[in-house]
Amino acid sequence: MSTPRSLVIAARAMGREECEALAKRVLSFATADETRVTINSGARGNTRFAVNQISTAGDNYDATVSVRSTFGKRTGVVNTNKLDDASLKAAVQLAERLAQLSPDDPEAMPELGPQTYAASRGWSDATASLDPSARANAARLITEPARAAGLISTGYLETRAGATAVANSKGLFAYDRQTALSLTTTVRTEDGTGSGWAGATSHDFALLNPGDLATRAIDKARRSVNPVAVEPGRYTVILEATAVGNLVQFITGAMSARNADEGRSFFSKAGGGNKIGMKVVDERVTITSDPLDPETYANTFSGDGQPISKTSWIENGIVKNLSYDRYWAQKQGRASLPGPGAVRMSGGTATIDQLIESTERGILVTRFWYLRPVDPRTILYTGLTRDGTFLIERGRITRAVKNLRFNESPIFMLNNLEAMGRPVRVSASEAGGPGLAIVVPPIKVRDFNFTSLSDAV
């Protein structure tokens, strides 16, 4: 049955005028030297399926107001989701009291004045209006073929539709709204010896193809049965785009100029300073962020109201930019630059089949799991392969192999680059949520360091 429209809350997110009015209301209660108001509102919906049926689902709506009050160099922050006048006034008063109780912050920066922002584009009505029955239908496009194939499907569909607004007592106002969704599935064989995964994420539900994900996961589940053990060690690997996204996001997550300048980052230079201008990975690698790129739509302003535009972080293997907060930028005589969120990595033209055909002996990886930092000096991570790991011999996939643990750095990996395919947007978050957009290619690299075998399927 279809869900009555009147009950659907999926498209609720506060509009620009509503946010402006609410921000004005909050600012009218303020007595601090400077006040910033951040408003986040939106709806989230999710449907989970397991053992070929829907297991749980949830829909929620929330709107929160964050008040940041500053007296001189003292600041306090209060967040609340109670939006009546009395609650908002109490929140402002508490933020002001916290600020007055806080010691002077020598790094305090004044609020920005009005800024100009590019109009954001990341909203899709198809995503915002997806209701529980439509989500259930999408889930059935995976559970039905899996059941028909005698396999067991599990998966997750999440939608987000939200708006963010930042306003301050100096007249700054920024507003943006975005949608995002992800659909991922793991299909297992009944005897538990095979498991295949497929997933996708986008801002627009119309760009997702649940049936295609089902086909890919089913195929991998069937082909991954009865894996054999290979000796851990250095291997040539072909990483599907999801596996590349799993690792490359740790590079962009470590690009703080301050940490580098302080000597506690991979981007610290021996002897002092940072690695801007130095070559750190293969010259074919370029990593950019652009909130107006249709595959990496994101907010066009930062949390403190700075405009965000297209930025090159690594260009032809050379570090072009690190992120500078406003204080550190001023201290170092640089322009401030908010950190990379959604990113795109350059690619090549090879198809996965061509990458396989060119490989004498190697391992194909579908995705990684339980990635955790081991050594921040080299961005070294550990983790395991999962849900589709295959041996390549003489240019073709010959059989499934047991999962492997690795200890490897995406920096080392991108120095050992052999070839790249076409970049695609991937579901790079292990938890399967929409998260920030990550667009990366499948790649072939040599000497990937596997350190032990896992019996897990």
């Binding site: 397991a50 689902a57 949830g58 109670k82 020598p106 799991w369 200890n407 019996d455």
Partner: protein, 490 residues
Amino acid sequence: MLALDAARSAGAQYADVRISRNRVQSISTRERRVQGLSDNETFGFGVRTLVGGAWGFAASSELTRDEVARIARQAVAQAQANRAALVRPVVLAPAPATKDGTWRGPAKIDPFDVAIEEKVALLLSANEAALKVSGSRFVNSAMFFLREEKTYANTDGTYTVQTIYRASPTLTVTAVSSDFSDFQSRQSDTAPMGRGYEHVLDAKLVENASRWAEEAVQKLSAKPVEVGRYDLVLHPTHLGLTIHESIAHPTELDRVYGYEANYAGTSFVAPPEQMLGKFRYGPDFMNIQGDRSQDGSLAACGWDDDGVQPETFLIIKNGVVNDYQTTREQANWLDWWYKQQGKPTRSHGCSYAQSWADVQFQRMPNVSLLPGEQNLKWEDLIAATDRGIAIVGDGSFSIDQQRYNAQFGGQLFYEIRGGKITGMLKDVAYQMRTPEFWNAMDMIGGKDSYWLWGAFGDAKGQPSQSNAVSHGCPPTRHRQINVINTGRRA
């Protein structure tokens, strides 16, 4: 009650509602400045319904009569949509109703009654003590407090009101070598607890800061470990995380039945028919307890989010798998085992949702390794070890989706030779296969060395929800475990 009535009249056979007011305060500092000072409150409600064996859930932050009724009807409509593909209907195990229950966590000092100035002064004093140590360059410290007031009601007649407290003090010191060629950090062994501000005072940040700073500096000149097999002596500040990953997660019953296969994973402790009463997890002296009652533990509560009063149960008994973590939905799945054991089929009280906006599901309670009969201490285990490594504090951690293959780092690593600590090591991580690791345990500390480790960030479910749990344990020794060196340069 309005929510339950609306859900029932819309066709729900069962419904429950949680209303929660959640207040969080956090203060973070670095060196001589306050980086962040915030006070957050979130308030809302969630309604869960069961219609024809399918779940529905909806939540909102607007607690008005109209919105409550609308959300309840929405949860029913969603359950009806979800029923379309139903294969195995949900059947709840019986649970006695609690008509009017109240429970309050054991906070002696409500953190929200303590002046901000006092908290800030304490953190900045601790930072100052750390910075006095030569070679210590950076220090971050923080406090986090939560007070949740949670009201729960269900259509079986249960009505409970609970107040939950959590407190977490932390401090991390980073030392950087003079030529910028190396940096090392030391995180404090200050586990979060289900207590009030007294937990921060007991952590003695100011008194301990200089020791943590000295240890960070020592790590710069520690000897890189040689790869190989070592006897490991594991401190409770380290072992709690290993228990969390390699015992607590694989004995979650939803994982065992494949419900978490798409993210958190399944479990090697499956199927239950081949595990319960049969599978040897570790030596005879290994007993693993599930509970939500240890004083000051993070999972402690009066009733879970199914409205069930939790009980204490043995997950591993004398080294053999004895039970799993369950909710009302899941207890029936083990009906055959409980009958065999002459026990009633009931939930162990492991239902939990991280907030009013999230649906509850099976989450781990406190899962603890019970102390051994001999009252051995950390020093006794080291004295009995000829060639080994002692590990203090938790570090990097990773484990596969069925919980076989794990890798753990730590905060401090000490070389043991001839029963004595002979120096500090660095770049240490051990790799293990869960059953072999626990069966390689040959020594265990006693009750005087038992300590409650804890964490806020236990992640599971989609959307991923955070659970807060404690894991108590004494120190242990494990023979001949594979140790790798993680200090690669290229």
